[in-house]
């Protein structure tokens, strides 16, 4: 059968199990959009390509499947960049299809030409410029394979218009992926596993430091078995949140710059650190040579380049978290005693819980809103965040029960991520409550996606913690720049309620503490459109505790 390149593309997407794509049309992708027109793949029309990219990312994080987005050439493609870089930093599997000018025009500064494979080279796991229609099927197969295997990441496929328009004979069968420079990691070094088990048996003060790799490896059950078998306390990174239930008696919450005091103290005192699917980010370690100073380190990661990159490791294990933890658990003796170490940690938890003050002006405290959201949803919702204080409070004051229920831009810290990601998550999981915890600054970066959420009748809730500041930056100015609030006051802002209503969404304004609960309950009942909740909160609340940048984890400010 003769098929156009674009038809082959859609055929291949179906074979990869793609049911939804997020995109925005334009000249160079006209052939693709013509094929989408009668395809049963669902296309979600964003209002900005960045929104499409983050929505595909949110879809991917919520499900573990590969997220797919499409844009036209030139400005369409460059609008995806922030979304691609966000996914790359957080190792999210995505395939982004960009239109390109016709092959004959490439390199001639043609209308809407951008060198997108060049531009995205350092922010993708891999990328392709497809040179002939015969290559489309192979490239799509390789792209999905690379995006989802090993350490996941975004892959860009640049598709010149003529390649999509040309027809070739296509039988539908596709050869197996054959990449000699890229092998899927299987197995592990069993000598290292035995050594890890010995270290765990000997340890008196072990701590598990778990991250995004546990989630991408779907290894929450194995992690829990390890922790409970030996009663090892578990702290997670921002990206690891949800991989271990926040309500478990061994849970320490998040560690690092805005981690709990007890998590950071545990790291400071530990004699064994079991690092699982983490990358020793500087937001976690603080001053690197004072991080876990008394601990031997076991590091399990699928990416060999992560092992030994920032800290020296005693037991390096390259492999899938799931497989390696199964191997370790199998060899582990169970421990019944509740050790001195466990008791010490319980004392710290009691002495230094997360806490916050009250507002001198009688305003709502932002932390209280998160606590209320938790009280009403009990860890069953998917929470996305913007970036800044809102993100940290969402990490600290909500107890996550399951993996893939906390979606946040950790590595790049992209303001404007949360709302489109919530749209992607809601489309992936229509039965789940999806809430974007937002700042008044960040939400204005992709507010146009209200159009998308209304069009597809998505009851996503946006909780704006409105402090009329770029709060996180203001906090740093307060702490480290003598309170000189240079360009962080954003009290010139739209009326968010009217803005919501202009889009035919629901808008609410909440100024009194007493109204928080009722308003949230009302918002949770809405089933056919997004709700924008404008909470007027204490303007100068700070996120605590805090490790000052470059400081040591045991020297924390605030929250005593």
């Amino acid at each position: 059968m003769k098929l156009k390149g674009a038809e082959i593309l859609l055929h291949c997407l179906k074979e990869e199990g793609v049911d939804t794509v997020f995109g925005y049309p334009g000249g160079a992708v006209l052939p693709i959009y013509d094929a989408i027109y009668d395809s049963d793949i669902r296309h979600i029309l964003a209002r900005h390509e960045q929104g499409a990219a983050h929505a595909a990312d949110g879809y991917a994080r919520a499900t573990g499947k590969v997220g797919v987005c499409i844009s036209t050439s030139g400005p369409g493609a460059t609008n995806l960049i922030t979304g691609i870089a966000t996914a790359n930093m957080d190792s999210v599997p995505m395939v982004c299809f960009t239109g390109q000018v016709g092959s004959a025009l490439i390199g001639r500064d043609a209308f809407q030409e951008a060198d997108i494979t060049g531009i995205t080279l350092p922010i993708t796991k891999h990328n392709y410029l497809v040179e002939k229609t015969e290559d489309v099927a192979r490239v799509v197969k390789e792209a999905f394979h690379i995006a989802r295997s090993n350490r996941p990441g975004p892959v860009v496929v640049d598709l010149p218009k003529d390649i999509m328009e040309n027809s070739i004979e296509f039988k539908g069968d596709r050869e197996e992926v054959n990449l000699r420079g890229y092998r899927v990691m299987k197995g592990y070094n069993s000598g290292q596993v035995i050594s890890a088990v010995e270290h765990i048996h000997k340890a008196e003060r072990p701590v598990i430091y778990a991250g995004g790799g546990v989630i991408s490896s779907n290894a929450s059950a194995e992690l829990r078995e390890l922790a409970e078998k030996r009663k090892i306390p578990v702290t997670t990174t921002l990206m690891g949140i949800g991989c271990f239930p926040g309500t478990n008696y061994l849970a320490l919450g998040m560690l690092g710059m805005h981690g709990t005091r007890y998590a950071n103290y545990a790291i400071g005192e530990a004699d064994l650190l079991i690092a699982v699917g983490v990358r020793f980010d500087d937001r976690v370690t603080g001053k690197i040579d004072t991080f876990a100073p008394h601990a031997r380190v076991i590091h399990i990661d699928i990416d060999a380049a992560e092992i030994g990159k920032n800290v020296d490791v005693d037991v390096p294990i390259v492999g899938q978290v799931k497989e390696v933890l199964q191997a370790i658990n199998q060899r582990l003796d169970e421990l019944d005693t509740y050790s001195e170490w466990n008791k010490t940690i319980d004392r710290w938890k009691e002495e230094f819980p997360l806490r916050y003050g009250t507002s001198s002006k009688g305003r709502i405290m932002p932390q209280h809103i998160i606590e209320k959201i938790y009280a009403l949803t009990q860890g069953e919702a998917i929470i996305t965040t913007e970036v800044g204080q809102n993100q940290m409070w969402a990490a600290q004051y909500y107890k996550y029960k399951y993996p893939r229920t906390f979606l946040t831009s950790g590595g790049l810290g992209t303001m404007g991520y949360g709302f489109p990601a919530a749209i992607g998550a809601k489309i992936a999981c229509p039965d789940k409550t999806v809430i974007d915890i937002a700042g008044d600054g960040s939400i204005q970066m992709n507010i146009q996606e209200l159009g998308t959420a209304v069009q597809y009748k998505l009851p996503v809730i946006i909780c704006i913690l409105n402090n009329q500041f770029l709060g996180m930056v203001r906090q740093w100015q307060g702490l480290f720049y003598g309170g000189r609030y240079s360009f962080t006051d954003i009290s010139h802002q739209p009326d968010f309620v009217k803005l919501a209503e202009a889009y035919d969404a629901i808008g609410m304004r909440i100024k009194d503490v007493g109204d928080v609960d009722g308003a949230l309950q009302e918002a949770l009942k809405v089933s056919d459109r997004p709700v924008v909740m404008d909470f007027w909160v204490e303007r100068e609340a700070d996120v605590y505790p805090m490790v000052p940048p470059g400081g040591s984890l045991f020297n924390m400010l605030g929250g005593e």
Binding site: G118, P122, G181, A304, A305, G308, K309
Partner: protein, 161 residues
Amino acid sequence: MKKHTLSVTVENKPGVLTRVTTLFRRRVYNIESLTVGATENPTISRITIVVTGDKKIIEQVTKQLYKLVDVIKVVDITDERSVERELVLIKVKADNNVRAEIVQIVDIFRARIVDIGRNTLIVEATGDSRKIDAIEESLNPFGIVELVRTGKIAIVRGGKA
């Protein structure tokens, strides 16, 4: 900090060299020299990279290179028994008074004179980096007008690939 020679086999495809150099630029590794060329297999090219760094840096460079989908193999051949060659072309000032002297130097290094101009000679030499440095140094006093030097290529002796 030592100089390391990495022999990197890659897919012979457009853009692969850019991927490798972008990686070095982005991770702030310092390339001393880099050569690319065909191999006995037309689908594979070999990039020979000389990079300075301690053991940890070289280990990171190697691991990061392996992450590139188009990189097939990375071997640090610094401590292997290998044959290494560079090629240099040197245009040197040479009036009649010094020509004989230059010819003598060229002979000692088993280099060749490949062009004779009115006031200059072009000398071609191959050898390992040390030899190339030495010939450059010896010709320097006469006045080097122009010099081009390739990066290093290398091949491991014996059976190992």
